[in-house]
Symmetry: C2
DNA sequence: CTTGTTTGGTGCGATATCGTTCTATATGGA
DNA sequence: TCCATATAGAACGATATCGCACCAAACAAG
């Protein structure tokens, strides 16, 4: 029965939407004024993957329009958290590098989230979370790979 | 080891953020121009829970600031998808009711998502989704109940 | 090389989000 | 009853998101 199969997507996406909202609020509560979740996401990505990526790389990684990434990076640069240099391999593009201040801020934010996550870990079964994590990852990869399968006519500017 | 326990939250929230982004794009691709995910969310909520809720009720339900809900409702009203009447029990507030047009549009959107979800169901293991759904629900409820545990000093306007 | 097409990035305008402030109504004591 | 406080909603301004148009560099075909 297809309806039952498809309904679960609906339900899961619904829950995910609410959790995203709540977790974003959680994160932003620990960030300095003027900075929001996307700023942290970039700092984190540059730390975890690596420095020196181009804006378009990150726009693709996060699935946001490149204009949004430009805007986010502008904010980070104003705060001195990243710096951009021309890409030696491609005259059209930039590379984005973390500054010491950027590295430090990311570490501070993570540290300040420690107690919050500690509280969560004490009151919510983390084994269950460990269980759903691979499924979420698989779902994310699947949706990412197939996002062209769907879609309104033709957005020209979309990140890809 | 607390670090391992807390790290899973970080990872799960990260995946959820990306999935939210992708699924929202999926939904909005099936919505008429001028309407976006929050509009659908309200139509859906009014259908599934019930008509006649107040704006503040829904702002709380979705964890958005009440000004955002005002804005979303203004859009829905302009398109003739909902209508508001004064609340007979409270002179300060309104009640929001679906119009026939609103009910029809919600149904159309869901119908038009059918093939997309059908595709997903054919290529992704829905049993795994059924498995994670209860955990996501529990996590959503837990975060919702404990969102006051955390939080920047004092946001006055926040929905609650 | 030249030229047509693709691609990274920006400027701009439209709309969305959200914090602050204000108004009017409720509500809970004295 | 009166007053202090709390609450629903709107107005407003600041910033975010994102589509579109544009430019310059890259690249591919001839």
């Amino acid at each position: 029965m297809p309806d039952a199969d498809t309904a679960v997507f609906f339900e899961v996406f619904n829950e995910i939407g609410i959790i995203e909202q709540l977790s974003r609020t959680l994160l932003e509560a620990r960030m300095p004024d003027g900075l929001i979740a996307p700023h942290f996401t970039v700092l984190n990505h540059l730390t975890r993957v690596r420095d020196g990526q181009t804006p378009i790389d990150m726009a693709r990684a996060f699935q946001v329009p490149k204009t949004s990434m430009t805007h986010t990076l502008k904010g980070l640069e104003q705060y001195g958290l990243v710096e951009t240099r021309p890409n030696p391999d491609d005259g059209r593009s930039k590379q984005v590098w973390l500054t010491d201040k950027g590295k430090a801020l990311r570490a501070e934010i993570i540290a300040s989230l420690g107690p919050d996550f500690q509280f969560l870990a004490e009151h919510f079964d983390t084994v269950k979370l460990q269980g759903i994590r691979p499924v979420l990852t698989a779902l994310r990869i699947f949706l990412d790979e197939n996002r062209h399968m769907v879609g309104k006519s033709t957005s020209v500017d979309t990140t890809t």
